[in-house]
């Protein structure tokens, strides 16, 4: 693995990365959370788009591996955004950093940056395209719930039925999960209002997956996990998005719908809009994996940085 640009990966590769994240996860139980693996390595968090959660998670992951972590806010005028992406990337490469974690509002920007800078690049979210470390942490948290925290190693998600609910069309989280979870054997269904589902293929699939407009239909099938996406009705789809009332009626995990899902894991990438994507009772229930996902994020990002940057991992050095 030279870069992490996409969650499209082979099953064995994904399991190995999740197992490495399990190794990293053990640091959570230590008093001194520091491994020497990336001592002397410098990682730049290049964030062209605001992010607190993802940037903090990458920063903690890098620091726990003893890397020097620098945060660069690449926000500039939108007119010069593309140009500054390239020039900022070349500038950072010229400073001799070892790896770049990039978040961009433009789909495909990390892939272009990877070509331009010649250093390992981690996609920390690009536009409406992908967010591969989010999918990895989702798979990590879900695998622990399904198989048990101590029995997850080496396991996949064969036959696990996952419904991803919300604004699929504009979600990079959905896209990365739509690639990674099926690679691990999960059966994924996309659920959302018609105007917020991605363009269908000739066979009716969307992003290569089954898609449904009725959440109640999918709940009746008793999925193993429900992944609720953050919706930004006011921003994403303008006048074609349903109103909040319409959205809650059709696609929110309300208390009433929660009662019909006694066994499903409730996942959310955060930050949550309580009352919109899911009720507070759902968010705080024992079925909720929300905080476990956040914890998993650090472990997964440690595993990714270690894979790309540790000298004994081959990387691109």
């Amino acid at each position: 693995m030279k870069h992490l640009l996409t969650a499209a990966m082979q099953r064995d590769e994904a399991i190995a990365l999740l197992d490495l994240a399990e190794d990293m996860h053990q640091i959570q139980d230590r008093d001194v959370k520091k491994l020497p693996a990336l001592r002397g390595r410098t990682v730049v968090n290049l964030f062209f788009e605001d992010s607190t959660r993802t940037r903090s998670s990458f920063e903690i992951a890098g620091k726990w591996l003893s890397a020097d972590v620098i945060n660069v806010s690449g926000k500039g005028s939108s007119a010069s955004k593309g140009e500054s992406l390239r020039d900022t990337g070349l500038t950072i490469a010229a400073m001799g950093v070892d790896g770049v974690v990039v978040r961009s509002g433009s789909s495909g920007a990390p892939a272009l940056l990877a070509d331009w800078v010649g250093r390992p690049v981690v996609n920390a979210g690009d536009g409406t395209h992908e967010h591969p470390t989010q999918a990895l942490l989702d798979a990590f948290a879900l695998r622990r719930r399904i198989h048990g925290a101590d029995a997850s190693r080496g396991k996949a998600l064969d036959g696990v039925r996952v419904a991803i609910v919300g604004d699929i069309a504009h979600s990079r989280v959905a896209r990365s999960n739509a690639l990674l979870l099926p690679a691990l054997g999960a059966e994924v269904t996309l659920v959302g209002p018609p105007s917020l589902l991605p363009q269908p293929a000739a066979d009716g699939t969307r992003l290569g997956l089954r898609a449904e407009t009725s959440l109640d239909t999918v709940i009746a099938e008793q999925p193993d996990a429900l992944m609720l996406l953050r919706v930004q009705l006011e921003r994403q789809a303008g006048k074609v998005a349903p109103s909040p009332a319409e959205y809650i009626t059709g696609w929110s995990l309300t208390d009433e719908r929660l009662a019909r899902l006694p066994k499903a894991q409730i996942m959310h990438p955060g930050p949550m809009n309580r009352g919109l994507e899911l009720s507070s009772r759902a968010a705080d229930s024992d079925a909720s994996t929300v905080l476990e996902q956040v914890t998993a994020g650090v472990s997964v990002r440690m595993a990714v940085l270690y894979s790309l940057l540790a000298s004994d991992q081959g990387g691109s050095r």
């Binding site: 939108s78 955004k81 593309g82 140009e83 992406l85 390239r86 961009s104 433009s106 789909s107 495909g108 920007a109 892939a111 272009l112 690009d126 536009g127 409406t128 395209h129 992908e130 069309a169 990079r172 896209r175 991605p198 363009q199 269908p200 293929a201 969307r206 992003l207 303008g238």
Partner: protein, 450 residues
Amino acid sequence: MTTPQTVSTTHGGTPTRTGTTLLTGAAFLGGEPRDLAIADGVFVDPSAIDRDAAEVLDASGLVALPGLVDLHAHLRQPGGEQSETVASGVRAAAAGGYTCVFAMANTTPVADTPAVVEQVHRLGLEAGLATVRPIGAVSVGLAGERLADMGMLAGSAARVSVFSDDGHCVADAELMRRALEHAAALGAVIAQHAQDPSLTRGSVMHESPLAAELGLTGWPSAAEAAIVARDAMLAEAAGARLHVCHVSTLETVEVVRAAKARGIAITAEVTPHHLLLTEELVRSYDARYKVNPPLRADRDVRALREALADGTIDIVATDHAPHAPEAKQAAFADAAFGMVGLETALGVVQESMVETGLLDWAGVARVMSTAPAAIGREPGYDAPLEIGSPAHLVLVDPAARRIVEAASLKGRSTNSPFLGVELPGTVLHVWHGGRRTVVDGEIAEMPVQA
């Protein structure tokens, strides 16, 4: 009648020259070999010339085509000189076999006043190499709100006969209706960039499962076809001629076909890139493949080729759109739309239409010269290569193949989707009004004309 060293400026400033040239053995419009003779800027009877006094060029193995006419090029001047000028644009045009180029109106300032179109017209005369015909804006500032002074543009020294807001759709139906009515009265044509803006907010590539996968905002086919259907109805009611720029989808082809069957005076163009390339190239996120309308799917490419072959689509036009490197070295959504095309158009048409058996060379002459000249009302192209016609001539080596390289492009910008691609056919020699503009594939430098 013939005055050596004088410059005629009545029709695009085509310089005339004395001396007789005899071309032997060229395949006439790709057919049987036939000798061609040029004297005093026109084709003359080769049997009636003094062969001993003529300059003789053995053209056997080459295809003789009329000088090509591009109804749709962005020459960027005034205002965009970092990416192209009229002078650099006509160099690219000549290298591609063109002898006449219609220059789009989306310059800075916009070509919505006689001053601007006359400036572009004058720059074309100074550049020589090819006739430059300025296109006038439909609306003031391309803003789509008020009609430009179309009559003044038509009556200017630039004698505008094509009006377009290209780059923008004339989206307001009332404005389009009135523009068509004015154009009809002027004998001009409205060239519409058909793109419903409300269906294409933020759109950067073809709307498709691939766009969904790549996380890029899609540009639906219906946004083009719906405007064409509307405009066809408006043109019919106004008794006007409508020309559809860069048709890119199967659905639009079907709308144009239906409009023609109804007797509406509609013509349509397709670009070379839409005849050869598909959206799959966007997978790389390389902004060289970002163009408006976007590269479409296989089914659209097939439909466009068939429509060009059966006459539903009348012409090939390049939509030559030069951009400086920084405009393309950006994330896909942030980069500029457009591709240069003048220098690769003929090769792409040979590859996609001739070598597939869909069009013969006479057909190429029709869709790249005779028909675009007729739509743009440029005289001198109605009887290609015939005795008495202006000597606008291209000699192509159809057997040669070349790999397109940035260093060999004659225009100022190199944002070609064909860099590194091998294309058939080489433009070896070009005459513009009897004057040689390309010799052995190189631009024949001309003295600057006052």
